[in-house]
């Protein structure tokens, strides 16, 4: 099978090199390597069970990889120091369920020493105002997702890793959040998004990492991946993914 890799064309902010991870006998990630450029929106796409969450947690240093390394601007970034550069927003968690949304948001704002205006901006941009007085456990799936995005965006780190950031959103909400993330990227923030909806990934990502069975099947722009898959240039990401995976 062909692995399309155009990483060498990227001026890497962060480089993920040969990460392997197994849980017991089950190999979840095998020699995963790719690079991310500064200000880029990189999509990590693949079906459920492809190893996307495991990979993000290994990169964030929340899960110890069996082998492999992460480099930051060419220098080795050990797991204990990853939080200096990046922040990972997990999927489907409900932190501090008994506390009010506003209280948790304020805690994260204060911990990151961000001005109140930054939180106000994010609350408005993500439409979180109606949820502020509610406990986290009372939030709907969509509001919980927005709440988690706000927690991530409050972290003033150059690289954000987000696991399924559009999960639970309708089309309009997805577009609103995409616009917000695009603005963040335009301000110089680099985003790595794990997305299982290929349509969403195609719309927002500058480049894509195709992951299947814990193996990188291709890295590049849609055009580069389409060419690697020897498909017509009008092919969509779904066709490309099926051809490469």
């Amino acid at each position: 099978m062909t692995v399309a890799d155009f990483s060498s064309t990227v001026d890497a902010l962060v480089a993920v090199h040969r990460i392997c991870k197994a849980f017991g006998d089950q190999q979840v990630l095998t020699d995963v390597s790719f690079e991310v450029a500064s200000g880029e929106v990189l999509g990590l796409i693949g079906p459920n069970g492809a190893g996307k969450t495991t990979l993000l947690e290994c990169i964030a240093g929340l899960l110890s990889a069996d082998t492999g390394e992460v480099r930051w601007r060419g220098s080795l970034l050990p797991p204990a120091r990853r939080r200096e550069q990046l922040f990972y927003v997990p999927e489907a968690i409900a932190p501090y369920p008994d506390q009010r949304t506003a209280e948790v948001l304020t805690f994260f704002r204060q911990a990151h020493r961000q001005p109140p205006s930054r939180l106000e901006y994010l609350v408005n941009a993500l439409g979180l105002e109606p949820a502020r007085a509610k406990p986290v456990a009372a939030l709907s799936k969509g509001y919980r997702r927005r709440f988690l995005l706000a927690l991530g965006l409050l972290a003033p780190r150059p690289l954000l890793l987000m696991d399924e950031p559009f999960d639970g959103f309708d089309l309009r909400q997805t577009r609103e959040v995409m616009n917000l993330l695009r603005e963040e990227a335009a301000d110089g923030r680099t985003l790595v998004l794990s997305i299982h909806q290929l349509g969403d990934a195609q719309r927002i990502c500058d480049r894509l990492v195709l992951l299947s069975g814990g193996i990188v099947r291709g890295v590049g722009t849609l055009a580069q991946l389409t060419a690697a898959a020897r498909l017509p240039m009008c092919s969509d990401l779904e066709e490309v993914f099926l051809a490469l995976a």
Partner: protein, 453 residues
């Protein structure tokens, strides 16, 4: 874009932990159970004290034996001790286990705090919980004061300090249990196996000597004993503090996700070794302060001064079973005092098996206490200091010091009082107050949650 954040202030994380404490139910359940438990202990203690005080009102010699510290404070704190042993672990465990279960820990460890900051903030919340749990106890002491009872400030403060150290140790053990296990229930089983295991150890050591006795000496329950006698034992205090810090350090090592197992094990081994060395060093600090107003745990000052000047090792061989009440009496009134007063004392409990009221059948040596000093030995069956000290002085070849007062002459504090009226407070008003506080802290959130469904 800035790539490195400055360390964050501790205040937000501390506020968050206090909110977690208030919104959870474990603190309020503890308070609801603690209130009647402390109240019952107090009311019973006052009733028994009144019974003992009646004859003492007319006989001054009997009155001297009546100490509110032993009669009221220690029994009332017995209920408090029970609740702290059995329920306090749940409060400490929740502060970590709920964060692990909800996924909050994954976010928390990415914030610009050191791991020790998280553990310190959580532990501060545990201390806050203990201070809130003092409300029933303090109200019992206020009731005693309103009834006209007496309490010595130094004794009371020492005992409370001992209970604080005990609660801190329980909290630190619970933290470690929560970091080592996946769920709160498993953590609770682990923590309670340590606390309740201490009771089992104490029970097992009652009738056995040797290793069981040695292990029981470091059980959590035995750590409170000096404080309950009015003694401020510096080695015990240091040992408890070192153990607490050690357990917290271990919790900080096992808390964060993503750390290699081998690295955790190496760090843990270093902490355990460091703590063991420090505890061993602390054990060499022999200072034990008798804070009782009448120095009832100590020999007269003249005797203590003379005993402190005896340079040789004193060997005391006691031929009694460990469960023999005479041994307990001997230990408290003579052996423990000798160990504090003399630089070198070794005690051997030589007898095995059970003892009847008059010793075990067929063992004529049973009950003997053999004192060996400077190559000379003497035997007695008396467990009183008045008989043993002169024998020791004779062996050492020194004269008995001139009799001196044993300390401030305590008049005794007999009090015939009835605290049954306090039942309304402990069984009714106080629990209602806690329910109200619980509602204020968490019910409004539940209403918001229900409305959103």
């Amino acid at each position: 874009m800035r790539s490195r954040e400055p360390p964050a202030s501790l205040t937000p994380v501390l506020r968050k932990e206090l909110r977690e404490l208030a919104t959870g139910s474990s603190l309020w359940v503890l308070l609801l159970l603690l209130s009647p438990l402390v109240g019952y202990s107090f009311i019973q203690a006052v009733a028994l004290y009144a019974e003992a005080s009646r004859p003492a009102l007319s006989i001054p010699e009997l009155a001297q034996q009546l100490s509110p510290f032993d009669g009221i404070l220690v029994p009332t704190l017995g209920g408090f001790y029970l609740a702290i042993t059995l329920l306090f672990p749940f409060i400490a465990i929740r502060l970590i286990a709920s964060e692990k279960a909800s996924g909050g820990l994954k976010l928390l460890v990415q914030l610009p705090y050191r791991l020790t900051d998280f553990v310190a903030a959580k532990f501060a919340a545990v201390i806050a919980a203990w201070l809130i749990a003092l409300i029933p106890l303090i109200s019992a002491l206020v009731c005693w004061g309103l009834l006209g009872g007496h309490l010595d400030a130094r004794e009371t403060a020492t005992l409370m300090f001992g209970h604080l150290l005990y609660a801190l140790l329980i909290g630190a053990i619970s933290f470690l249990a929560a970091t080592l296990t996946e769920g709160g229930a498993t953590a609770a089983i682990l923590a309670l196996s340590v606390t309740i295991g201490s009771w089992v150890l104490d029970f097992a050591a009652l009738d056995r000597g040797g290793v069981t006795n040695l292990v029981a000496a470091v059980s959590l329950t035995s750590l409170l004993k000096p404080f309950e006698q009015g003694l401020l034992s510096i080695p015990t205090v240091l040992g408890m503090l070192i153990a607490t810090v050690g357990f917290l350090a271990l919790a900080a090592i096992w808390l964060p996700p993503g750390v290699l197992f081998t690295r955790r094990v190496k760090g843990s081994a270093l902490i355990v070794m460091g703590a063991a060395i420090l505890i061993a060093v602390a054990g060499q600090a022999r200072t034990v302060l008798d804070v009782t107003p009448d120095r009832r745990n100590s020999f007269p000052p003249a005797d203590e001064q003379l005993l402190g000047q005896l340079p040789e090792r004193l060997l005391v061989t006691v031929r009694m079973a460990p469960s023999d009440p005479r041994l307990t009496d001997l230990d408290r009134k003579v052996l423990a005092r000798l160990k504090r007063a003399m630089p070198r004392v070794t005690v051997r409990v030589a007898a095995e098996g059970k003892a009847g009221l008059f010793g075990s059948a067929g063992d004529e040596d049973y009950g003997q206490i053999v004192l060996t000093y400077h190559g000379k030995s003497a035997t007695t069956r008396s467990t009183g200091a008045g008989e043993i000290l002169p024998i020791l002085y004779e062996l050492a070849g020194v004269g008995s010091p001139a009799p001196s007062p044993t300390g401030r002459d305590e008049p005794g504090y007999p009090l015939v009082a009835d605290a049954s009226g306090a039942a309304i407070w402990f069984y009714g008003a106080l629990p209602l107050m806690f329910v109200g506080m619980w509602w204020l802290a968490s019910a409004s959130r539940r209403i918001a949650r229900r409305r959103s469904r």
